[in-house]
Amino acid sequence: MDVLVIKDLSTHFVENKGKVVAVDNVDLMVKETQTVGIVGESGSGKSTVANSILGILPETGEITSGMIRFKGEELRGFSERQMQQRIRGKQISMIFQDPMVSLNPLFTVGTQIVDVMKLHQNLGVRKAKTKAIALFKKVGISDPDKRFYNYPHELSGGMIQRVVIAMAMSCQPSLIIADEPTTALDVTIENQILNEFEKLVTEMRVSVLWIAHDLGVIRRISDYVYVMYAGTILERGKVEAVFRNPLHPYTQGLLRSNPIYHEPKSQIPTITGELSKMPPHGCCFYPRCKIGDEKCLDNNIKLIKVEEDHCVCCRKIEVRENCYEYE
């Protein structure tokens, strides 16, 4: 069974200036033991998707439509209490971006992970502590029995993120949602943590939904990737297919914006403009697109399959038999 199936999800925020659609009719799927990546820049709505799944949107946010099926059950139908007791931390755990604010500063990290295990697994303190220290070791924390008694402020960002990962794994969830967990970390520490995370995920057979703006991290960690822009999925597919053959002008522009593909000191060909006003209908990327024309403003631009496990949402791509070309 697929662990997570999202269909037609739409979420909006109500602000002073009016309604802002953060997620616009998104379809998404995570299979068993699969790692799915969502890549997008700020304002793409990727974090809002994560928050919608877990029901942790701020007060101004609201899911307006769609279905979120987790292991066959519709999450939108769950009460807050059910989410707390059955889902969050237990079946779906989450890892957030900023390690410095993820943990309660007043309690030792040991207390915090034991609390999670006591709550969701009904374990006694001693058993939970043994399990916790074993988990700490697994995520690469050195001297885990000593670190158990440290407060968050005594640990580096990398260490805290490891503790958070251990906490996320502690109740053997079916799905882990990681929202930019390594963005704030140094690159050598990030590398280490990704190594350890990948090993654990394979061992525990967990599905992962990994959200990031860093294409390199997404490429490394994901099996399947969704490219998001302004609340819409513009492209999706097996990670190697999307990176080797990016189809959507946005994905292409994003990859091309990386300086490593260009001669040092040269002007980097990038996407012009910024994410701003959306056209009222049609393709949301049209204002910044180099190949768009007025027909792109028509409604109903759908995801089309271009090759095996690779779909794109662009009307300029015509698929004929086994090949495709840009109009």
């Binding site: 700020s42 690159v187 050598t188 590398n191 280490q192 294409l215 260009h262 000191k265 980097i268 990038t270």
Partner: protein, 331 residues
């Protein structure tokens, strides 16, 4: 390293030391324990050629921002000296200091905190221009609009407050402010780190273009090696207050020799793939700056360390023309 004569370089840093004293607690004071220091910058020498970019790269805690602040004369030095455009900046008198502040400008990382939130962009620029008397007062307004144009901001942003601008737009405003005094040297500390990759590329393009047009010299500080590689002429890799490798940007990749530089390359996912870098796995955490390791500061995490590394500190020695590394394996 051969001693640089003042006249050849825009910036010459010699034997720079910046140590921060750690507060001793009461018990330690009674026990008369030795004063501890954080050696943020520990004996660094480097030189920047005019109109070129020196890229300073390293992870958090390596001291690169502190070095940048010393070059901007924002920190009292513990040792060494800094010469900019043939002047020892720490012995400048008031009038010369004012001139220094015109010639040497800065762009910092966080576009959300470096612009005064209550002032419009136009007012912020005009204040700088008026203070330094860059142009005659009646020309100031037009000059400010010209500055906005040069950084790719529409004139209407002159009436906006930072809150109304996106991250990329705020960074452009910060660059306009840096340009307003007609500087010769700009110190940029992580100027694109907080930006999305497509905006990052736009800002890098802008900075490179401005350098070309105005003959600017840049000290570009960042932790992202792919950004540093793209904008720099010379690269200095820092670790725990020391420069571990100094090399021409072209040599990064195939010719870099220090294990830390190589691990930065292989950790930086796409860069590592592009150069088919040796995959170097570092073990352990970055040591504390208060109690750095004896001997080579990198040996605790280095996969190639041997006995000598634990006892002796390697010096920055020449590997090739213009290329230096501090590692016993390279000499």
């Amino acid at each position: 390293m051969r001693k640089a004569s003042n006249r050849e370089y825009a910036v010459a840093v010699r034997d720079l030391k910046k140590y921060y004293k750690l507060r001793t607690n009461f018990v330690d004071k009674i026990l008369i324990k030795e004063q501890k220091y954080i050696k943020a910058v520990d004996d660094i020498s480097l030189a920047i050629t005019e109109r070129k970019t020196f890229g300073l790269v390293g992870e958090s805690g390596c001291g690169k921002s502190t070095l940048g602040r010393c070059v901007l004369r924002l920190e009292p030095l513990t040792g060494g000296n800094i010469t900019i455009f043939e002047q020892n900046i720490y012995s400048l008198e008031e009038k010369e200091l004012r001139r220094f502040r015109k010639r040497v400008q800065m762009v910092f990382q966080n576009p959300y905190s470096t612009l005064p939130p209550h002032k419009t962009i136009g007012k912020m620029l005009k204040e700088v221009v008026d203070y330094h008397k860059v142009v005659k007062e009646k020309e100031a307004k037009d000059y400010c609009l010209l500055l906005l144009e040069q950084v790719g901001l529409d004139g209407r942003f002159s009436e906006s407050r930072p809150k109304a601008l996106s991250g990329g737009q705020r960074q452009r405003a910060a660059i306009a402010r840096a340009l307003s005094t007609e500087p010769r040297l700009i110190v940029l500390d992580e100027p694109v780190t907080a930006l999305d990759i497509s905006i990052q590329a736009q800002i890098l393009n802008l900075l490179m273009r401005l350098q070309e047009e105005k003959g600017l010299t840049y000290l570009f500080i960042a932790h992202d090696l792919s950004v540093i590689r793209h904008v720099s002429d010379i690269i200095g890799v820092m670790y725990l207050g020391k420069i571990v490798e100094l090399l021409p940007a072209k040599a990064l990749g195939k010719d870099s020799v220090h294990p830390y530089t190589k691990s930065l390359m292989s950790s930086s996912h796409m860069l590592g793939e592009l150069f088919k870098s040796e995959k170097i796995r570092l073990t352990g955490e970055v040591p504390s700056a208060i109690d750095p390791p004896v001997g080579c500061k990198f040996h605790t995490r280095c996969p190639y360390s041997f006995d000598r590394c634990k006892k002796e500190e390697p010096r920055l020695n020449p590997v090739e023309e213009g290329h230096f590394a501090s590692c016993f394996l390279c000499n």
